[in-house]
Amino acid sequence: MSDTPNVVTGDSEAPTTEAPVAPESTASQTADRKRQVHDMWVAGTEEPAWMRSYTNEGAQEMLDADDEHLLGLTGGTVAGDDVADDELQILNMGPQHPSTHGVLRLHLELDGETIRRVKPIIGYLHTGMEKTAETLTYMQGSTNVTRMDYLSPLHMELAFSLAVESLLGVEIPERGQAIRVLLTELNRVSSHLVWAATQGTDLGAVSMMIFGFRDREYILQFFEKVTGLRMNHNFIRPGGVAADLPDGWEEDIEVILDKVPQGVSEYEELFNGNPIFRDRTMGVGVITPEECKAMGVSGPMARASGINWDLRKAFPYSGIDQYEFDVPLGTHGDVWDRYLVRMEEIKQSLGIVKQVLETMPSGDYRTTDRKVTPPPRKRIDESMEALIHHFKLFTSGFKVPAGETYCAVESPRGELGMYIVSDGREKPWRMHARTPSFNHVQALPTMMTDSLVADIVATIASADPVLGDVDR
C-alpha cells in the first residue's frame, strides 16, 4: 500500500557526535510534558503530532460516502442534501462494550437517532491461530482449533477432525459417530442458551442472563464429566473421540432432557407474549435471502430469512442423517424470526440427543487404524510395536497424505468449514477456518443501516457473533 503511515524520518533522529547535554531545567520540561499528556487524555483536544503516528487509525476511517460501489457493498445510505455534514455524528461503539459480545468495535455514522452507515472493526482478539496450526501436528491441532469459537468448541474440533479424516480416508465406528453427534448437539443447545441469555439481557430482560446460564450449567457439567473440561475440550480428535462415555452418562442426559425443556418453556413464557420484546425485535435487523447468499450468511440467520438449508440435511456428517429432526424456518429475516428459529433448534437438538440416547450403538469409539489411534493401554505392556507406535504417535504424530480438502459442519452459528492443505507431513501446510461469525459481523451494516440506535444491540445479539471465532 502506498499510503502506509510514515514511520520515522531519518532527520529527526540523526545521530549526533556530541555528548548529550544534561537538560538545564528539568522541572519546566516535566511540566510541559504533563501539560501535553493532560491536553491529550484529559482536555480532549487534538492529538499532538508526535502521538499521531502511533495512534493512526487511517484504515478505520469511515469510507468515502460518494462511492456508490462501496455503498452497495457495505450497505447504508448517504444522508440527504438537507442534512449538513456537521449534523452527522460519528460514534464508536466498543471494543469495550458489553453489548458487542466481546471486543467488536462498530464505527457508526448517525444522523440524529438514525444509523446512516456502519463499519465493523475487528481484530482485537486476533491471535494468529492459523499460523499456530502450521506448527502443530494433526494430533495437537484440535487443541488449537477448539479455542476459536469458545461457545461451540466441539463443532470446531469436529470440523477439523472431519477434514483430517477425509484426507486420511479413515472411517469412524458407529459408536464414535454417535458420541460425536450427542456432544455436538448438546453443544448447540448450550450455545443457543448463551445466545438466549444475552439476547434477553440486551433487550432489558436481565433475568434471562441468570436463566440461560443456569440451564447451560447442566450441559457444561455433563461435558466436564465426559471430557474433563467445561470448555476447550479437545475431545473430538482425528480418528474418533478421546475416550468412551463415562458410566452413568444416561442418567445425566435424562436430567438434561428433563431440565432444559422446562427452562425453554420458561423463556417462551417470558418472551412470546411480552409486548416490549416483540416491539423491539419484529421488523428489526432484517436481511433478505439474496443478501444472505451474497454475504455468505448461514445457519439460523439464513434460515430465519427463509432459506431452507441445513448442512446436517444437505451434506450429512457423522451419521446425523439417521436421526429425525426438523429444520425450522422463518419468513421475515428479522430478530424475532431468529429468536423463534433458535428456540425451535434447541428443541430439535434435544430431540436428536434423545434419539442418540435410545439408539447408542456399542463398539469402539475410535478407529482401529493403528496409524492414527494410539494402541490400547493393555497392548503397550505386551507388545514392543505397540509401545513404539504409541511413542511415535505422541512425539512426531501421524503423516497425512498430500492433498487439500474442505469440510464443513453446521455449527450453532452456521457453516463452520475447515480448509486444510497437506504436503504429506505431520503438520498441515495450511489450515484455514471458515467461521460463520466472520460473515455475520460483515453483514451487520446490511442489517443495521437506516434503523435506530436502540436496535443496534438487538441486531448484534441476534447475529450471535463470537469474537474468538471472528478474529481467530
Binding site: M1, T4, P5, V7, S53, Y54, N56, E57, G58, A59, Q60, L63, D67, H69, L70, G72, L73, T74, I122, G123, H126, G128, E130, K131, T132, E134, T135, S166, L167, G169, K293, A294, M295, G296, V297, I307, W309, A314, F315, G403, E404, T405, Y406, A408, E415, G417, Y419, V421, W429, R430, H432, R434, F438, N439, V441, Q442, A443, D471, R472
Partner: protein
C-alpha cells in the same frame, strides 16, 4: 450426496464457456475443484454465480513458497440448488501478487479479501477498501507467508547463567 445432480450435468455449460479452466474431482470424487487462469477468474466467478453457485462461502490465500505460482487464492462457492460445492483455485505470482477482486460479484468477499491481503499480501485489484483487517495498521509484513517466522520469546530460567 447421492441424490446430487451428476458432475457433468452441472458443469457442462461452464466447461464449454471456459475451455482453459481445468476441472477435477478430488478425494473419491467428493469435492469439485476448478483451476482457473488469472484472466478468466472474474468472468468465471460471475458465470458460476449465474450457473447456480450463488452462495459465497469462503476465500483464503495459500502460500506454496517454492512452487511456480507461489500463492494461490482459494474460493469456495456453494449451490443450494445443485447441492454441490465448487472450489476455485487460482495461482498467483509471488513477485507480483495481484488478482482481480470479486467484490462486484460477491459482496461477502469483502472481509475475506482484506484478510488475504492482510495475512499474505495479495493485492485484490478493484477492492474498495483493501486495508488490514485483523492486524494493526502499522504491522510490518504478512504473517501467514511461509518466510515469515513464527517468532519466539526468549525465556531465561531462574537458575540459568546470565545471557551474554
Amino acid at each position: 450426496m447421492s441424490d446430487s445432480p451428476k458432475f457433468d450435468d452441472v458443469f457442462a455449460p461452464l466447461r464449454k464457456a471456459f475451455p482453459d479452466v481445468k476441472f477435477e474431482q478430488v478425494l473419491d470424487s467428493k469435492q469439485d475443484v476448478a483451476h482457473v487462469p488469472t484472466e478468466d477468474y472474474l468472468p468465471f466467478v460471475a458465470a458460476a454465480r449465474t450457473a447456480g453457485f450463488d452462495v459465497f462461502v469462503d476465500l483464503c490465500g495459500v502460500d506454496y513458497l517454492r512452487r511456480a505460482p507461489r500463492f494461490e487464492v482459494v474460493l469456495n462457492l456453494l449451490s443450494h440448488e445443485h447441492r454441490r460445492r465448487l472450489r476455485i483455485r487460482l495461482g498467483v505470482s509471488g513477485t507480483e501478487p495481484v488478482v482481480p477482486s470479486i467484490t462486484p460479484v460477491f459482496p461477502g468477499a469483502n472481509f475475506y479479501e482484506r484478510e488475504a491481503f492482510d495475512l499474505f499480501g495479495i493485492i485484490f485489484e478493484g477492492h474498495p477498501d483493501l486495508t488490514r483487517v485483523v492486524l494493526p495498521d502499522d504491522w510490518e509484513g504478512h504473517p501467514l507467508r511461509k518466510d515469515y517466522s513464527v517468532g519466539s520469546v526468549p525465556v531465561r530460567f531462574k537458575e540459568s547463567p546470565k545471557a551474554q
